[in-house]
């Protein structure tokens, strides 16, 4: 009780300090790089390559933000954060933006005082079972032992789902995906539940992926996206419109390969011209250079290119676009107009 009071007071003091400080965009400009919080490792989303460089779906998008501000995707430093340290790292100002498979929820937005800037991956919680179990629907899982990561929204969703369906389950609490993989393969639990993207990635690493099935039920909405501190709208707009630029670029067929041509001179499509900075003064409204979206797109291509490179069907992770396809192609990816 006393502990929570102290923590609360400290957190409140931190919030006020955060609000009182100058805008993050100015701070970022002054120090010359973006400090980006990423995960300590989620397959395809954030990982280190053999040279020790961070790479992945989330990481590339964060680099695009750096490119938008500085014109250089390398003007960035990464802070690996765990599920436990991510929010304090952001609230205390240690990082400028958090790009870490974080689900946009009411309480995180309102109570923890963060601003979510859009969704870069629509996920949902699913179940994986060995096909030998003979289960074809999550509603047949009464009495199952379930491997579940603690401290995440998935834990709460699982409890809700089983209660709503009048079923019981026995949780096997685990800390990391690696542990879950090992436990699940060793048969310590019948079911492994986490975000469907994570399940697909996990299954792809098994020696015999065919022996395991993903059940059709998706029991929750997990919109994952970048977030910044409350009360920092200018900086938030930079991140939000960098993400939107990548999505619009896919919509308009602008790729890493042809972005330079498109930006060279004004073309027929006025929205492309506005995005490329060949028409209007859209960069200046944000306090950025005219062609900031060009630099962002050059980092790793448009949304679709980044997706295919790191998590798409041709990667070992092998995720289909699904909900994350453009709204014109049956998905729900929809960026507001650039005007």
């Amino acid at each position: 009780m006393r502990k929570s009071v102290i923590f609360g007071a400290v957190a409140a003091a931190g919030m006020m300090a955060g609000v009182a400080s100058a805008g993050t965009l100015d701070d970022v400009r002054a120090k010359g790089f973006v400090q980006c919080g990423v995960s300590t490792g989620v397959a395809g989303f954030a990982f280190t390559d053999a040279n020790g460089e961070w790479d992945g779906f989330d990481v590339t998008m964060c680099r695009a933000v750096a490119a938008a501000v500085f014109g250089d995707p390398k003007a960035i430093k990464f802070t690996p954060t765990t599920g436990k340290t991510r929010f304090t790292a952001l609230a205390s100002g240690e990082i400028d933006v958090l790009f870490r498979n974080t689900t946009w929820t009411y309480s995180r937005d309102v109570d923890l005082k963060f601003t979510f800037l859009g969704v870069n991956y629509y996920d949902g919680q699913g179940f994986m079972v060995p096909s030998g179990l003979g289960v074809s629907s999550a509603t047949e899982l009464d009495g199952a032992t379930v491997c579940i990561q603690t401290g995440t929204t998935t834990e709460l969703n699982l409890a809700d789902f089983f209660r709503a369906n009048n079923m019981s389950y026995e949780p096997v609490p685990i800390e990391t995906n690696a542990e879950a993989q090992a436990k699940y393969l060793a048969g310590a639990c019948d079911v492994y539940t986490t975000d469907a993207s994570g399940l697909a990635a996990t299954r792809s690493t098994f020696e015999k992926p065919g022996d395991h099935v993903l059940l059709p039920e998706i029991i929750s909405k997990e919109p994952l996206g970048p977030l910044v501190r409350h009360g920092d709208d200018e900086w938030g707009d930079v991140v939000r419109w960098t993400l939107n630029a990548l999505i619009i670029a896919e919509e308009k067929g602008i790729t890493a390969g042809n972005v330079d041509d498109m930006a060279a001179s004004a073309g027929k499509d006025p929205e492309i011209n506005r995005l490329m900075g060949t028409e209007g003064e859209y960069g200046a409204m944000l306090g950025l250079s005219k062609d900031f979206a060009v630099a962002a797109i050059k980092t790793g291509g448009n949304y679709g290119e980044i997706f295919e490179k790191h998590i798409g069907v041709n990667t070992p992770i092998g995720l289909a676009r699904g909900l994350n396809a453009l709204w014109t192609e049956g998905g729900i990816l929809y960026a507001p107009p650039w005007r």
Partner: protein
């Protein structure tokens, strides 16, 4: 009297000893005495041998005979093993260690500056030698004293060397930095705390007791969270207070509290007569402590001290929880690379081997020291 000497009642020479029964000599005898001494031990022996035969050959097969050292990804490893040994056979994929070896050693330290941490590592042994072994010339102790500054400059740069930021440090280098700092700094602080706790001065004694009891009452992981999370709130925004430095301080405080209690145990083991004898010689407090009390108390507490050191060194892996990329923390980003996702045993075994080498080394040294300081027989 007959002079016939052909019959004698006394043996003219010693009868040669007959060999002991076959069952008590040689391999048989040794086995009887040590392995099959009663039915209980016989059963245990047979069970143990069966366990070894069942467990060891498969491990050797897996790790060495079927291990793959050169491959670009886990699936490539599996293909190589399947091609060489048939479908469904499993072999170790050491290729991941091969590819990420430098990352395991140095984290993300710039490649062209690797010589600096290596030099710091070699110099560490030079600095430790005069402390650990009395045969080494005493003037070397001066180097030991300035070594922390040298190591700091080598690793972080400065004074003409290209600076390297803390975020680039990781791997075994980070474990060694935190471990050695904690070990080296906690011993003197621990000694002072132990003396302070025994002091007759109320104020000093109270401070020491409060410090020791507070730190010992809190888990290390809590202190690490305070270092990584809570301090950010207290410090004014924009303060650059290095995370690794914060962690080193917390680890040192934590281990010095334990060290103080270990040494207090050594102090308590000394008979009151030793204190009185020192007083009778007319030595003042510091002289009697330095010349009479501490040498004996420390000797008694060697096993406990080394025990704390080893525990501390292994506890450095806890920093992975706050997002520092020590060897255990590095496993996550490596496994998240889609080339290596799904690999588990090889990585953990490699990290375990590293910790075993260092901890075993410390343990052997403490045994050497105990033998050397043995004066009671």
């Amino acid at each position: 009297m007959s002079s016939d000497t052909s019959i004698s009642y006394v043996a003219s020479g010693q009868i040669p000893p007959s060999p002991p029964p076959a069952a008590t000599t040689g391999v048989m005898g040794w086995m009887r005495e040590n392995l099959f001494d009663g039915w209980m031990n016989s059963v245990l022996t047979i069970v143990s041998i069966a366990a070894i035969v069942l467990i060891v050959p498969p491990i050797i097969d897996w790790a060495f005979l079927r291990g793959v050292w050169n491959a670009g990804s886990l699936s490539e490893c599996r293909e190589i093993v399947a091609a060489a040994h048939g479908e469904g056979v499993r072999g170790a994929c050491w290729a991941v260690i091969n590819e990420r070896f430098n990352q395991f050693l140095f984290g993300f330290y710039p490649t062209h500056l690797y010589w600096r941490p290596i030099l710091a590592f070699v110099l560490m042994f030079v600095a430790l030698a005069p402390v650990l072994f009395t045969q080494v010339p005493r003037f070397m102790l001066w180097f030991s004293l300035i070594y922390p500054v040298v190591a700091f400059l080598l690793i972080w740069g400065g004074m003409g060397l290209e600076p390297v930021e803390s975020a680039k440090l990781g791997g075994f280098m980070l474990a060694l930095i935190i471990g050695t700092t904690g070990i080296v700094a906690s011993l003197p602080i621990g000694i002072l705390l132990a003396l302070g706790r025994q002091s007759s001065m109320f104020f000093i004694k109270t401070i020491c007791v409060i410090f020791i009891e507070f730190i010992r009452g809190v888990p290390l992981i809590t202190l690490l969270f305070v270092a990584s999370v809570l301090l950010n709130y207290f410090l004014p925004p924009g303060t650059e207070f290095d995370l690794i430095l914060r962690v080193c301080i917390m680890v040192t405080l934590f281990s010095s509290a334990y060290m103080a209690e270990v040494i207090r145990g050594g102090l308590a083991a000394l008979p009151q007569g030793q204190y009185e004898a020192a007083d009778a010689l007319g030595l003042n407090y510091w002289k009697s402590t330095r010349l009479i009390i501490m040498p004996q108390a420390l000797k008694v507490s060697i096993p406990g001290i080394v025990n704390s050191f080893i525990g501390l060194f292994k506890d450095t892996t806890l920093v992975s929880v706050i997002g520092l990329l020590d060897p255990v923390g590095l496993l996550n980003p490596i496994r998240a690379d889609s080339n290596w996702n799904g690999i588990l045993w090889e990585l953990y075994l490699f990290v375990a081997l590293f910790f075993f080498i260092f901890c075993f080394g410390m343990s052997r040294y403490s045994m050497y020291l105990e033998r050397k300081l043995k004066t009671d027989r």
